[in-house]
């Protein structure tokens, strides 16, 4: 049946007592031992795909994986130079740390949605041949950006040492934010990847949207500037901005060692849930038609 039942699992369930082939050639194994049941199979695929992306990213670069640490560090140095000298944001406490925490958080978001959006289109040759769970591809891109994020945390620790900010127990709350952010990115990647299959325009549009979104989020400018926005509606929008909330959550726990406000925590949770629900619904209802468009 060409619907949702995974063949491997179904087979394991219906024919467990079946003996292996009696005269199988020496180098073959009974089919039953070779395959994963459906769920585990997807996990192995995810792992292999993340490994692949990771290897490809740093293959043939001399410093290799060190770039994952070096890149955010250098970006931070450039940005802190630019913004503290030209825009005089230097009065923000621990400005380099303020920058790098927000930047790596934003990087996860922009990397995973950008790559996630293209993931189904890029997996087209494969999807035309093999029956694989399609949601594996956008989710993999989010996981891959998480791996990069984890490496860039080393850069954050270096900056913390430089700035003399001591780690506090409050930092233990940061992983909660990361999990919520992951959920938000997974949902959005599912949504974007499904839409991009039908409308390739989205690919071009999204980069513009991301840029606008980046400037609307207090990544390098002080959070207090939101208050100076003259229109009430715009202010509400800026506070509701999911990325504002995730970035604030990270900064509060990592830099300021304070508990994020209830509004921020609730927003982070709600945005993650909305994104997941919407992304999942759209992806599931359209994934069967992908093959006709890729």
């Amino acid at each position: 049946m060409a619907s949702d039942i995974e063949p491997a699992e179904k087979d394991m369930a219906t024919a467990p007592e079946e003996a292996p082939a009696p005269q199988a050639p020496a180098h073959t194994t009974s089919a039953r031992d070779a395959w994963y049941p459906a769920g585990k199979r997807d996990l192995f695929i995810l792992r292999e795909l993340v490994t692949k992306d990771f290897k490809l990213k740093y293959r043939r670069s001399v410093l290799g994986v060190i770039w994952s640490v070096l890149n955010p560090l250098l970006m931070m140095i450039v940005m802190s130079f630019v913004f503290s000298f030209f825009l005089r944001y230097a009065d923000i406490q621990h400005y380099p740390l303020y920058l790098i925490v927000a930047n790596i958080t934003w990087q996860v978001f922009s990397d995973s949605t950008n790559a996630g959006m293209m993931s189904i289109i890029e997996a087209a040759p494969l999807l035309k041949k093999v029956r694989v769970k399609k949601s594996v591809f956008p989710i993999e891109k989010v996981l891959f950006s998480l791996v990069n994020f984890l490496f860039s945390l080393i850069a954050v620790f270096i900056v913390m040492l430089w700035e003399g900010v001591a780690p506090t127990p409050m930092m233990l709350l940061a992983p909660i934010c990361i999990v919520l952010l992951m959920a938000f990115c997974v949902g959005l990647s599912l949504l974007l990847s499904a839409l991009a299959v039908f409308f390739r325009d989205l690919v071009h549009l999204w980069s513009v949207l991301l840029m606008a979104w980046m400037y609307a989020t207090p990544l390098f400018w002080p959070v207090s500037m939101i208050e100076q926005v003259p229109y009430h509606a715009v202010r509400i929008l800026m506070y509701a901005n999911p990325m504002y909330n995730y970035v604030t959550f990270m900064r509060d726990t990592v830099i300021y060692a304070t508990m994020p406000s209830v509004e921020v925590i609730v927003s982070c949770v709600v945005w993650a849930l909305i994104s997941l629900a919407l992304g999942y619904a759209v992806f599931r209802s359209h994934e069967r038609r992908f093959i006709l468009f890729i």
Partner: protein, 368 residues
């Protein structure tokens, strides 16, 4: 392709073969018979070539000159491997001017004597059941490349579609352990059918039931990443086929050995030839016994030695009675060697289904 050549002085030459179907090790007598002329006035060159194909009509890839014997008019030929051979004799006159050639095909079966695997019993369980499958594609009469165009058309109710029936009421049943072939010309719907069986495409109407695991041969460009090394690709591809990691660990060397690519494992795949990639793909897909093995045109990439190895492996799998092989090809000779039943699809319609010889004969008569 002709077995008789009319010479310009009224005589003719006919290529005589002692048999057109034999086994490895059997002796074939090749004798050109001259009629109406003295054979001593002519010279003959005898050439055979393995696995030439009807479609391609080329035989430059594996030409082997066995003998250039002046004033000899009969040869013995003992094939050392199974396959389809082209036997040809070039005729020259006494001045060495080429007059033409005569040629015929022979089929050579493997040592075990079975040209094709045995047909499974009638009560064998069903592996693939296609029940009245139709596939209709809606081809947009206009191409929408942007949201704007789409919304404008949608608002004006101008979204019209042209129906294209890629498959029209196809039904067949494949038993477990059977080797089933799908033939048809380009664009006939073979691949669409295969996609439906593989579960990547859903039929518009009808149903396909598949029992068991499917291992498609993932071809060049799909599932392989050219930047990764062969070893990394084996793991990636294995994962996509659903293999367990410990299983791949255990059988890694088997895959390498079968592909005959020991020592190339840490080389990026982009440095491989397409034939080498096909070897790896085949080795991965057949390292274990899938319930259903789907063989697309992939095999045609490898060299003839590897093609024969693949054929042997496919036959091994079929003979184990557990594996169902679905072979899709327009290379009729491959289908003839491997399959025991064939379905011929033409322009989405099922033209014929039945024993290989019958269907292939009919299919071939279309080509001429």
């Amino acid at each position: 392709m002709q077995d008789t050549l009319n010479l310009d002085n009224g005589g003719s030459v006919f290529l005589g073969l002692s048999s057109t179907s034999l086994r490895v090790g059997d002796k074939l007598q090749v004798t050109p018979h001259f009629r109406g002329v003295e054979k001593e006035d002519y010279l003959c060159n005898y050439v055979w070539n393995l696995n030439g194909s009807w479609e391609k009509g080329d035989f430059d890839s594996t030409i082997e000159h066995v003998g250039h014997n002046i004033a000899k008019y009969s040869w013995e030929f003992v094939p050392d491997r199974p396959g389809r051979y082209r036997i040809a004799v070039d005729i020259e006159d006494s001045q060495g001017r080429f007059k033409g050639n005569v040629e015929r095909w022979i089929i050579v079966a493997g040592q075990n004597g079975f040209l094709r695997p045995p047909v499974p019993p009638a009560d064998a369980p069903t592996a693939v059941l296609a029940d009245d499958v139709s596939m209709i594609f809606n081809i947009a009469s206009e191409q929408f490349n942007s949201l704007k165009e789409y919304f404008i058309a949608a608002a004006k109710h101008e979204l019209t579609f042209k129906e294209f029936r890629a498959l029209d009421h196809i039904s067949f049943e494949v038993k477990r352990g059977e080797a089933f072939g799908l033939v048809g010309t380009n664009g006939s719907g073979k691949s669409t059918m295969l996609k439906i069986i593989a579960g990547v495409l859903e039929p518009s109407t009808g149903e396909v039931r598949v029992e068991g695991t499917i291992a498609p041969l993932i071809e060049l460009g799909a599932g392989f990443d050219m930047e990764l090394t062969a070893k990394e690709n084996i793991y990636l591809n294995g994962a996509l086929l659903g293999y367990r990691k410990d299983f791949i660990d255990e059988h890694f060397q088997d895959i390498v050995d079968f592909a005959e690519l020991d020592g190339f494992m840490d080389m990026p795949l982009k440095n491989y030839s397409s034939g080498m990639v096909a070897r790896i793909a085949f080795a991965i897909a057949t390292v274990t016994e899938p319930d259903i093995l789907i063989v697309d045109e992939t095999l045609s990439v490898g060299d003839f030695l590897f093609q024969q190895k693949c054929e042997r492996r496919i036959k091994e799998l079929v003979e184990s009675d557990n594996v169902t092989v679905l072979l899709v090809s327009h290379d009729i000779s491959l289908v003839e060697r491997i399959c025991d039943r064939v379905c011929w699809i033409e322009k989405g319609h099922m033209r014929m289904i039945g024993e290989t010889d019958e269907v292939c004969e009919a299919y071939r008569s279309l080509q001429r």
